[in-house]
Symmetry: C2
Subunit: 442 residues, 2 copies
């Protein structure tokens, strides 16, 4: 990301003594971190701040690097420092791993982690393609471990509030279109050296990086129904090594719903969603990372029209602000750890919603990539085939769940999606507060 260049300073650390005491009572989930990625600094802090998780270990190919990283980022004294990823996976006390490695390494290390019975919080994009991701999913399934991707904004209480608006037939009506943009201006060093421009590391480039969020946002607004077609937009830009650094696509659903997105490393930081429904519309300009950590806003309008002479709007759109006590990445770690704890301590089956959302996002990425490779040809059959494949996997999952929860196996696809969506809608409920000076959604 376009981080302002500043000297690395220790993370704001939680009051350890209090926290350890509190966490011991709750048997926190013990995290191992694979690698010393920049993004892992933020997630390490989130693990520290989550009430049900602790940093237990970090592994790097260089033990010196790991030691330095742990010190620079305020890791607890007790944290194990390992000179390899394998050592983290072999530590029997590690419950879960956070995997911020380059995408090309996900399949190797996520599959291995699953085989070592470690639950997995996986950076996005989850894989180089859905085939690789399915191997990760299968490894997690067979080993009974939880899998979740690290798409933090999904866990922001604002996201829940926005979804409430989009799901309200009286306020938003039926979705008609979504436009999403995520760009940032990468500097020369990034464009030459970052892993996200290297074909052997993050071969999906800006599509896998910022495009992931746009596609997730579009699917999220569409209740995770896959589009019937995906068409790359003209104007894809590649670097010399053939990695995408700017692109976009148009998506289309039955019934005339449409979406577009644009993602790139070449334009000033922009993170927008505009969703228009038959009755309402929604705008947000910082959907991935809010302007401020502890509060975030969005605007909505319902049944917008004009005054009599068409010289102004009636009503004027409303601005909504949602406060959060815990940053979105802390809420993500907390939710992941809650699911892990249910599997580890209460014998629950690993939650299937999160890997389903990951898979659908990856599937659309694959379709965009394929359309780009074919010069902008619409990919309809591929997506439909993929929907069938997803349905099969979901049925398998639902079949397993059914044995425990009392039978939804064989339910029609929309019922299953309803279940998933209800689970999703319930996430984070009660976890937000609205300041007095904002216009809350009525």
């Amino acid at each position: 990301m376009a981080i302002k260049s500043q000297p690395q300073s220790p993370l704001p650390s939680p009051p350890h003594s209090v926290k350890i005491c509190h966490k011991m009572a709750e048997t926190p989930i013990r995290f191992g971190i694979l690698g010393c990625a920049e993004i892992a600094r933020k997630v390490s802090r989130a693990i520290s701040l989550a009430p049900n998780a602790v940093i237990y270990a970090i592994g790097s190919r260089s033990i010196e690097k790991a030691t330095k990283y742990a010190a620079a980022n305020g890791f607890p004294e007790s944290a194990k420092i390992y000179g390899s990823y394998d050592a983290v996976l072999d530590d029997p006390n590690v419950d879960a791993v956070y995997v911020p490695l380059p995408t090309s390494l996900h399949i190797k290390w996520a599959v291995l982690a699953a085989e070592k019975k470690k639950h997995i919080l996986l950076e996005k994009p989850v894989a180089l393609n859905v085939g690789e991701f399915d191997r990760i999913v299968e490894a997690c399934e067979s080993n009974g471990v939880q899998l979740m991707d690290s798409t933090m904004w999904m866990h922001n209480p604002r996201t829940v509030k926005m979804k409430e608006f989009l799901s309200d037939p009286a306020k938003f009506g039926e979705l008609r279109s979504v436009q999403s943009i995520f760009t940032f201006t990468a500097d020369q060093d990034f464009l030459e050296n970052d892993i996200r421009v290297k074909p052997d590391l993050d071969a999906l480039g800006s599509l896998g990086d910022t495009g992931w969020y746009c596609i997730r946002a579009i699917l999220w607004a569409n209740d995770f129904n896959l589009p019937k077609s995906v068409t790359a937009l003209p104007g894809t830009i590649f670097n010399k090594a053939g990695v995408i650094i700017s692109c976009g696509a148009a998506l289309q659903w039955e019934g005339g719903k449409v979406a577009t997105f644009h993602c790139s490393f070449l334009a000033n930081l922009t993170m927008s969603i505009t969703a228009s429904g038959t009755k309402g519309s929604l705008h947000v300009n910082d959907f991935v990372i809010p302007f401020e950590e502890n509060q975030s806003s969005f605007s909505t309008a319902t049944e917008s029209g004009f005054n009599e002479l068409v010289t102004g709007w009636v009503p004027i759109p409303s601005q909504h602000t949602v406060m959060t006590d815990l940053p979105q990445e802390v809420r993500m770690v907390t939710e992941f750890s809650r699911l892990v704890k249910a599997v580890k301590n209460d014998g629950a089956v690993a939650e299937k919603m999160w890997p389903t959302l990951s898979r659908k996002t990856q599937l659309v990425i694959d379709a965009v990539k394929a359309s780009i490779d074919k010069g902008g040809e619409a990919l309809i059959e591929n997506i439909e085939a993929a929907i069938i494949q997803i349905t099969r996997i979901e049925l398998l999952w639902m079949g397993r769940d059914a044995g425990q929860t009392g039978g939804v196996a064989g339910a029609p696809n929309n019922m299953k999606m309803d279940m998933l969506m209800n689970m999703f809608r319930n996430l984070g409920s009660g976890g937000f507060a609205t300041p007095n000076n904002s216009n809350d959604i009525k």
Copy 2:
């Protein structure tokens, strides 16, 4: 437009005695209005409020309708009421006509008006296709009358301020992408009976209506350089009569600049522009008709990045508010009347910038329509051919101007566009005020 249904009430009228006195001293431009369109109510008020214009006549196919309309909209007592459009054009005291007729009638009445030496303020879309528009332009040229389309937001002082930001290499850098949306939810009566869904009246449907504004915004952000390709997006929706009621397109320029737009009659009022440059970005959510008449806002950001842990933005985008003493449509009438007065009283040649912008907008509309008709095929050669044609027309115009202004005939195309752009940038300068509580662009 999606006007709230309210009983029609008289327009807020200007203090006539004062105004007439003031206007007589200035020899105001005398407007004739062709037809009793709903949009003409707003423009009639604008003519009343403009310091250099007066409503002189109105003509309708029914004199009763015209009489009722003039009374309901507070027309001056002196206004002539005619039972035909021809009668307005035959009145030697009418200087200029405002033409809000259905698009299919533009060619007949605009050409006739030009032949009767009436200057023309023409509703958008200016024609059903660029061929028709060229006949209107040629009639205006040969008869030495001013032509301007009625795209009101172009005359808002906010538009000038936004353009200043987009033109600033230090604050915005080089444009990379533009996304524009203009939708509104038409009710059943509109979808069945409005002229904008009738193939014999406004055959361009939502593309000609709301799409016009999106395309204008995209061209405006691109300094009116035409794209090298135009590709319709999948998901066009037609009504039973084959008129477009929802569509979109992707546009592409040399050097990787891209744009998309979406326009429709099927989703809640949304009017957005998001422009991203190498250094900055701009958002506006009410670009066609501001939320409020006398002030309007937009947000900008320059060199956006994140704080050290990537948990917030540095800096946070700025909100800008621009006040206007005169509504945008009044400023449009004032500017048009100023140009008419220069031709009428000072022997000036009619201004060529406005018809050039109309023509380019119409040209892109034609390309989108053609791409829709061809099932989403990219239209590259057509646009390039059209650019050559535009260049020829501009050269002709410039050649004429050159005789008077000291010679830009034969100047390269970019020089001519620079001239046009400078003229455009100067419009409205000095006409805005910024309130104390806003963050003005520094």
